[in-house]
């Protein structure tokens, strides 16, 4: 029987095995559903390995994240894990930050050595975020096994005092916290700037920011992050489709069927895991990506020329 599983992708300009793409989507969607990250930092390099041009890989990935995060947000929404108010504020900040970041990167490129700065920022960011989350969760897991220490009241930090003294304090019911409206706006902007400079969706920075700086509960963080990613990726997909013609819808559709299913399973797996376990797993994932990037930076590439658009 000559039933072929290959499908030609007109925008990517290559044919792919449907099952391989479907499986890749499923695996990344699973991570997305568990941790609330878009997974672009994993998906784009893997698609490039399958012969997809880097620009098409990144844009089509944004398109599929729209589907996966819709599915993931829905699943988390039903579990009561989406703080819409917080998500919208972070989104507004993210959009402002993204536009700022694009301008910053233009200036950096003119100054030269922008790529060096981007690579080093990326690795440092991953190392700090991953390392901090990893050890913090490890300590929390250890201390939770000793019930007495958890009962001792913690001294209020300077950070907490500053946060409490900010104007426009508001209640975020889903997250169960009271914060100044400026906090998500400013932090959203910062993450937007970093994400635009690094050329990523920013989920892996946004999640730790929500956990440690906004002090949101981990499960609400995941749902809210996915809610926010959905809107960011709708914007990116439409922009890339109109400006650069790099969105391959067929590729995106294949990926998203896999990833939307994966995200559903991920949301359930995440529910079964404790907040600290989730954090430590995400931290491990971030650290693995950091080591991969460090390896790429230190080892001589096989070919010293590369097509435009890749990292």
């Amino acid at each position: 029987m000559s039933l072929t599983m290959n499908l030609y992708l007109p925008i990517a300009g290559n044919s792919v095995n449907c099952l391989a793409i479907f499986g890749l989507g499923g695996a990344v969607g699973l991570l997305s559903g568990i941790f609330g990250v878009g997974g672009g930092f994993l998906m784009t390099p893997l698609l490039m390995m399958m012969g997809i041009p880097p620009t098409v890989a990144a844009s089509s990935d944004s398109n599929q994240i729209v589907g996966a995060s819709t599915s993931g947000t829905l699943a988390h929404f039903r579990l009561g894990n989406v703080d819409i108010k917080m998500g919208l504020l972070l989104l507004v900040g993210g959009i402002v930050g993204g536009s700022l970041g694009v301008q910053i990167i233009k200036v950096l490129r003119q100054m030269g050595n922008a790529d060096f700065l981007i690579s080093v920022t990326y690795v440092l960011m991953l190392a700090i975020v991953g390392g901090y989350m990893f050890f913090e969760s490890l300590q929390a897991m250890k201390s939770s096994s000793r019930p007495n220490t958890a009962a001792t009241p913690r001294r209020e930090s300077i950070y907490a005092k500053v946060v409490r003294s900010l104007p426009l304090q508001a209640e975020f019911k889903r997250s169960g916290i009271r914060l100044s409206l400026f906090m998500p706006l400013v932090l959203g902007t910062l993450v937007g700037v970093l994400a635009a400079i690094m050329g990523v969706g920013g989920g892996f920075i946004m999640v730790p920011v929500m956990v440690y700086l906004l002090r949101m509960p981990m499960h609400v963080v995941v749902g809210t992050s996915l809610f926010q990613i959905l809107f960011t990726c709708v914007n990116v997909t439409i922009m890339q489709a109109t400006e650069n013609h790099t969105v391959d819808f067929i590729l995106a559709l294949l990926l998203l069927i896999g990833s939307a299913l994966g995200a559903q399973i991920g949301a359930k797996v995440g529910k079964k895991l404790g907040g600290e376990q989730l954090k430590i797993l995400l931290a491990s994932l971030v650290l693995v990506v950091m080591f991969k990037m460090l390896y790429d930076l230190l080892v001589r590439p096989e070919v010293l020329l590369a097509t435009m658009g890749g990292h």
């Binding site: 007109p10 729209v66 489709a241």
Partner: protein
């Protein structure tokens, strides 16, 4: 005086005809070159194809078959070491007259076909491709790296011995080969060349055109993406959202039974 001159002119023309035109006429002796299919349809199921090439070459010669695309400009990034330890993009390379695809095969070992074969080999592109811009400070061989990059993508290939020769006949000898056309073949105009060589010199050459064009669903989608890009972008996001919701609802209703 004038009669003497015209006699000399006639002799000179005769010699010119014998020495120059005759070998050229002989060099045109590659005949009947046929490439099938002449049009490659890139439809939804396209996953590369096999191009059959056949023809006739002069007696006692070997043949190189080359499939290549229209030369175009290409912009690439160059990787180099920064601060003596980190590999990253350090510059830009712009090249012109780069064939998008170049697939080569021959009837015998290419290395033994001498200088005459050189312009038709991948290394021969060194003399046709021009480096317009090279901002990186590393002393890399840009063409070598380009060949490596294209080979890795499956768009350039050089093989020996894949062209089959038939026994010598009266009008020369027939050849045939199958070239594997990669799935990443960009739509466009291509040509297949058959170059006949004898004793290290080219004795004949012929070409046949091959066209690759999008067909069916890929053609429709590509036109939508390029001609109505906003509609395409909006549709792509709407379908993604709808699919996400649909999968979410199906999964949820199934999961709800637990």
């Amino acid at each position: 005086m004038i009669g003497n001159f015209s006699r000399r002119l006639a002799v000179a023309l005769f010699l010119f005809a014998v020495l120059v035109i005759a070998p050229v006429a002989r060099a045109e002796a590659v005949s009947n070159i046929v490439a099938t299919p002449a049009t490659i349809d890139i439809g939804a199921q396209y996953d590369g194809t096999t191009l059959q090439v056949s023809g006739t070459i002069p007696s006692g010669s070997e043949v190189i078959v080359r499939f290549s695309g229209e030369p175009a400009t290409l912009h690439l990034r160059e990787k180099g070491k920064v601060f003596g330890m980190l590999w990253m993009n350090v510059g830009k390379v712009s090249l012109s007259r780069v064939p998008s695809v170049c697939l080569i095969d021959s009837s015998s070992d290419l290395a033994r076909q001498g200088e005459g074969a050189m312009p038709y080999r991948l290394q021969g592109l060194r003399h046709t491709i021009t480096v317009d811009e090279h901002t990186g400070s590393t002393g890399i061989d840009v063409i070598d790296e380009l060949l490596l990059l294209k080979r890795q993508a499956g768009l350039y290939a050089e093989n020996s011995g894949g062209v089959q020769l038939q026994p010598e006949g009266v009008g020369g000898r027939g050849f045939k080969t199958s070239l594997h056309i990669p799935s990443a073949l960009p739509p466009g105009n291509y040509h297949v060349e058959a170059i006949a060589l004898r004793d290290g010199a080219v004795v004949g050459k012929a070409t046949a055109p091959v066209k690759a064009s999008l067909a069916g669903f890929p053609l429709w989608l590509s036109q939508l993406a390029f001609k109505h890009s906003l509609l395409y972008g909006v549709l792509a996001t709407l379908i993604a959202i709808a699919s996400g919701l649909l999968i979410g609802f199906i999964f949820q209703s199934r999961g709800g039974a637990h």
